[in-house]
């Protein structure tokens, strides 16, 4: 018997690690992966609450989050390709102006 709060704490830890990765990392691809980590942490919360209230709705939201994450990954990685083609760098500290 695992208390529900353990799942929520795990989700909080993963989310905080995702935020930390988003802020600390310098590589634009790793920053993007930190966003995926945050989305995963929130999905775990959704599924845990879905179990708690015996409702299927949480699973559906996870489904939609995964769909949006897939769309986001496709567009985001295309943007990264574009940025790399124009600047020849992936380091976000070197990408400080919006001008090409």
């Amino acid at each position: 018997m695992v208390p529900l709060s353990w799942y929520l704490v795990l989700s909080a830890v993963l989310f905080a690690l995702g935020v930390a990765g988003f802020l600390f990392k310098r590589n634009i691809i790793t920053i993007f992966m930190s966003i995926e980590l945050m989305l995963n942490a929130v999905n775990l919360s959704f599924v845990a609450f879905s179990y708690h209230w015996k409702q299927i709705g949480g699973h559906l939201f996870v489904f939609f989050v995964i769909v949006v994450a897939a769309a986001e990954a496709a567009v985001g990685l295309a943007i990264i390709l574009c940025v790399f083609r124009n600047r020849q760098t992936l380091n976000v500290d070197d990408l400080e102006t919006m001008k090409l």
């Binding site: 795990l10 310098r26 993007f32 699973h59 489904f63 990954a73 496709a74």
Partner: protein, 165 residues
């Protein structure tokens, strides 16, 4: 058994997430993220979300991460260099991280510390029930996501195409 499985895979997930932050090479970070996703899939199974666990492995750990690894290989991304431009980040980074974490845990832990726990098989969100809800109650959001995916495909193609003179 439930507690053992939870602790094992929660430990793997947290260890892989920490490894994602510590590793300098993007490929190592991507492999750790796949570890996080795989162990989360086991936790979804423990929570009775069998369909979600399946698409977590197939779509997330499979398709999306392959896309990431593909782009890392394509751009030949090497180790990230340390820049050390921000002094403030080094001083405030860890305390603010701890503050954020403790705040979320504080909000989330107390209301659910007692009450019925999670037992394997206590609630099963079957694929049938999921499909029923998806195509009956949530049919409009479902159709909207198809438009979203179409827009994403067009956007990705337009952004990633080579300029033709």
């Amino acid at each position: 058994m439930n507690v053992f499985l939870f602790l094992t895979f929660a430990g793997i997930a947290v260890a892989c997430a920490v490894n994602l932050l510590v590793q300098r090479h993007p490929i190592s970070s991507a492999i750790s993220l796949i570890g996080v996703m795989g162990s989360l899939a086991v936790l979804y199974l423990l929570l009775g979300a069998e369909f979600i666990a399946a698409i977590q492995v197939i779509v997330y750990a499979g398709a999306i991460m392959v896309l990431f690894v593909f782009v890392i290989m394509l751009l030949n991304a090497g180790e990230e260099e340390r820049t050390r431009r921000s002094k403030l980040a080094r001083v405030l980074g860890f305390p603010l991280f701890a503050a954020l974490l403790s705040q979320i845990v504080w909000v989330v832990y107390r209301p659910f510390a007692s009450g019925p726990g999670v037992e394997f098989g206590g609630f099963v969100g079957s694929t049938e029930a999921l499909g029923r809800a998806l195509f009956r109650d949530y049919v409009v959001p479902f159709e909207v996501t198809s438009v979203l995916i179409l827009v994403a495909i067009v956007g990705a193609v337009v952004l990633a195409r080579k300029e033709i003179e």
